[in-house]
Structures are given as C-alpha cells and as structure tokens.
Symmetry: C2
Subunit: 140 residues, 2 copies
C-alpha cells in the first residue's frame, strides 16, 4: 500500500445545493468528469467528491447518523488575512461559522465553518507548515 | 481561496492504537513533525492527522457523536489484486471489513474497511481514474 489517499467523499442531502456552495460560494471549478449523480473537484493530487447520502449509505453499507463524527478537513491559508477572507466567503455562501478566526495556543490563527451538511472545515494559518507554490504542505 | 485542502484530521479514542494501525498495519511512515498530542502522515501534498477526540471536540467546539457521519476516504489501488491486498492488510491490523472486495456497477472493483475508530475507508480500483507515478488522481 502506498502512503496516500485519493478521494474524500462527502455524503450530501442536496447535491445541487452543495455543488453551489463549493462552486459558486468557494469559487472551485467542477471537474468535467462530474455527472448528475456525483460532483467532483480536483484538489491537488486528490479528489473531493459530493455524493448523495442515500447512495453513499448503500455503497458503504452503513447508515449515516446526524452530527459530527470526528473527521475535519482543513484548508491552510497563506496568512491571517486569507483565513478571515475564506471564512467570510463560506459564511456568505450559506456556511455556518462555528468558530470565528482567532489566535490559537499552538501559534497559528484558525477558525471553522460548516458546509451545508454540517461538515466542519478548519481554515488556518500555520507558521510552521509553509506551503509551496502549488499549495502543498510538507511535514515529512 | 485556492482549490485545495491541506489536512484530514481523524479524532481518535486511543492515539497509540490508531498510530499502530496506520504505521505498523498499513505500513505508513509517521512524520517527524508528530508529537505526543498529534500523529501526522504525509499523504501526497496533504497531511493525515490523528488527534485525540476530546481535544478535537474542544478545538472545533462541537461534540463528537458515534456512528458514520457521511464522510469516507478512499485509496485508489493500481489493480484489483492491490484492492484485496490492502483490505487484507487492514483486517490483519485490526480493521473491520464492512464490504468485501467486489465488482461494482460503475465498472470498478471496491471494498471498505473501518479503522479503529470506525472511520470508513474505501479501497477501489477505478479503470477510469488512472494514477500517475506519484499516485495522484487527475479528474480535471
């Protein structure tokens, strides 16, 4: 097994609503490989996939329970200003700010929004994790 | 906002148990930037982070609920044999096979395991999503 992952799938209640949040709200470009059942976004060497909750339940064979299960996704911003900008953008698009941008004990600056299905996204600036030109993080 | 994500964080009950699953079980190398509070794995240009559930709840400000919330992570394998190999590896390491490797309607071959905290990972071969040398997927 190689040390990598390829896809993050979010089971969503309303595919069009979620597509609009990521596409129009956050400004991401939908992949041409998307179709009426699945919306894909290229994120670096991985894919973020939006898929109907009902279909995802069938595929995995597990029922989806409401609430936060303990997985978060994070966007590392290039500076504190970008953290605020991204959170504002998410809020305007209908996301909920669950933690406003603030200095955090480990030396960074961070906040959280939730997407239309309540999935939490951290937006953080981390002085110890510089990004390369393509936005890759390297901790290896 | 750039079109990318940087970190996938899994809130875990037992940091050492989860570290062992990913490190010894799946064979991944722990990042030297890890410490007693957080275990990091470089995955392409992103980071998979294991963090205590209690600390993650405090950081996000949301309580973690048991069960599957609708986020899955997927590893795209290079062929059907690798799908079976990875699922076997995960099972030997204490993961649970929630769906055994099988041909799926969209033309691929896929199964799911859950990690020690019940987070579901799909392991799939997808003939329409070839991987490059580094294991990057490109749907753009």
């Amino acid at each position: 097994m190689e040390q990598r992952l390829s896809v993050i799938t979010l089971g969503v209640q309303d595919l069009e609503k979620s597509r609009t949040f990521y596409e129009k709200g956050l400004g991401w470009k939908v992949s041409p490989s998307s179709n009426e059942h699945i919306i894909l976004f290229q994120i670096g060497g991985m894919v973020l996939s939006l898929f109907s909750k009902r279909e995802l339940e069938k595929d995995v064979g597990l029922k989806i329970e409401p609430g936060f299960s303990g997985i978060t996704l994070a966007y590392i911003a290039r500076n504190e200003e970008e953290v605020r900008d991204v959170l504002n953008k998410a809020e305007k698009a209908g996301g909920e700010i669950v933690k406003s941008a603030q200095k955090v004990f480990w030396g960074g600056y961070s906040g959280y929004f939730t997407d239309p299905d309540g999935y939490p996204f951290e937006v953080a600036w981390n002085p110890y994790w510089p990004l390369d030109d393509k936005g890759n993080v390297n901790v290896s």
